[in-house]
């Protein structure tokens, strides 16, 4: 498990080891969603996830 901090509230977020860039993680404390923008040996980088768009879905 990779440990990182929420960009919003600095709460702890645990991310599975097999995470890939582009996946969405959610802070268990504040509920904010983030996109994993990068994975590397030192951990992961997060950025604010896009809001759901009107044209999203299958």
């Amino acid at each position: 498990v990779i440990k990182t901090k929420c960009l919003e509230c600095e709460g702890g977020i645990s991310i599975p080891d097999d995470v890939v860039a582009g996946e969405i993680v959610t802070c268990p404390d504040c509920g904010q969603s983030f996109e994993v923008s990068e994975t590397n040996s030192s951990g992961v980088a997060l950025k604010t996830a896009e809001n759901i768009g009107e044209d999203w879905g299958e």
């Binding site: 860039a21 582009g22 969405i24 999203w56 879905g57």
Partner: protein
């Protein structure tokens, strides 16, 4: 562009790119399937793309490989990516035209009717006045859907004239380029379930029932619908393959209802989600999809 897998597939020698804008469960499992086969895969975030019309077709091919699996969650983003890449002679699953045909319910319905695929009776209107008239003609209950939309959003069952007036008035107040297009459909007398069938080329991969949740009539997994196993009958297979062909083919989710006179196809989905189907089907869906993409790349 992230490159995964150092070796070209010895068997195929093709490079495949998977283009995403959000990695859902489906994109991750498709990526795993590609990696497991040792196919060189480029995993490309559409949000970071800068597509340059000046770039040569050869340069585009170096960036994107021989075939592209387009899996954007944003319909219009995916559609435009497909259009650009096809314009550079790349082969995209699904093709731009298929995406366009599936993304707009008016186009889907027109093509299904033209191909002789049974589909619910549908009317299209462009004003509140004509929409109310069409609803009266179709009879209650009637279903109002956004002409472009998914996950069951804003799909409304209109049960009587009073409700029709309120709903159409509300739609009239909504912003959005397509809000004043009224796609109205008879409500098919069906059991509280529909059928989701996943097709890849001419392979009917699997079919599952989608049961509406207790507090909704819609069956979309996104609104809480639950899946269960569904046999692939001759009638189902025939309708699904004809519907898929009608919209241009590829990897598709064909939705059907069991009407009083047989199966009717009401929707064909371009970027099919299959997590729900996986829980009810023993078929290896990602394998079947990647089989199709690999064959497509080799053609």
């Amino acid at each position: 562009l992230e490159k995964i897998g150092e070796n070209r597939s010895a068997e195929l020698g093709h490079i495949i790119s998977l283009i995403y804008d959000r990695v859902r469960w489906e994109e991750k499992i498709l990526l795993e399937e590609l990696k497991a086969r040792d196919i060189e895969t480029k995993f490309i975030d559409a949000k970071l793309l800068i597509l340059d019309h000046q770039q040569s077709a050869k340069g585009i091919r170096q960036d994107f490989g021989d075939a592209v699996l387009q899996r954007c969650i944003s319909h219009f983003r995916g559609l435009h990516v497909a259009a650009f890449l096809e314009g550079k002679n790349l082969r995209v699953v699904n093709a731009y035209r298929t995406g366009e045909n599936c993304g707009n319910k008016l186009l889907t319905t027109s093509l299904l009717i033209k191909a002789g695929v049974p589909t619910p009776r549908t009317k299209i209107c462009f004003s509140q006045e004509s929409a109310l008239e069409a609803i009266e003609d179709l009879g209650y209950p009637v279903v109002l859907k956004p002409v472009v939309g998914s996950w069951g959003r804003l799909v409304i069952a209109i049960k009587n004239r009073e409700m029709a007036r309120s709903v159409i008035e509300m739609r009239g107040q909504m912003e959005g380029l397509l809000s004043q297009i009224y796609y109205l459909q008879e409500m098919v007398k069906r059991p509280p379930r529909d059928i989701r069938c996943i097709v890849a080329g001419d392979n009917v991969v699997t079919a599952v029932y989608r049961y509406a949740p207790p507090d909704d009539w819609r069956t979309n997994v996104a609104v809480g619908g639950k899946t269960g196993p569904c046999p692939i009958t001759v009638e189902l297979r025939e309708n699904v393959l004809r519907a898929a062909e009608a919209v241009g083919g590829g990897v598709l989710g064909v939705d059907l209802m069991e009407g009083p006179e047989g199966l009717v196809v009401h929707e064909v989905n371009n970027t099919v989600e299959f997590r729900g189907a996986t829980t009810a089907s023993s078929t290896n869906i990602p394998k079947a999809i990647i089989d199709y993409v690999v064959d497509f790349a080799a053609k």
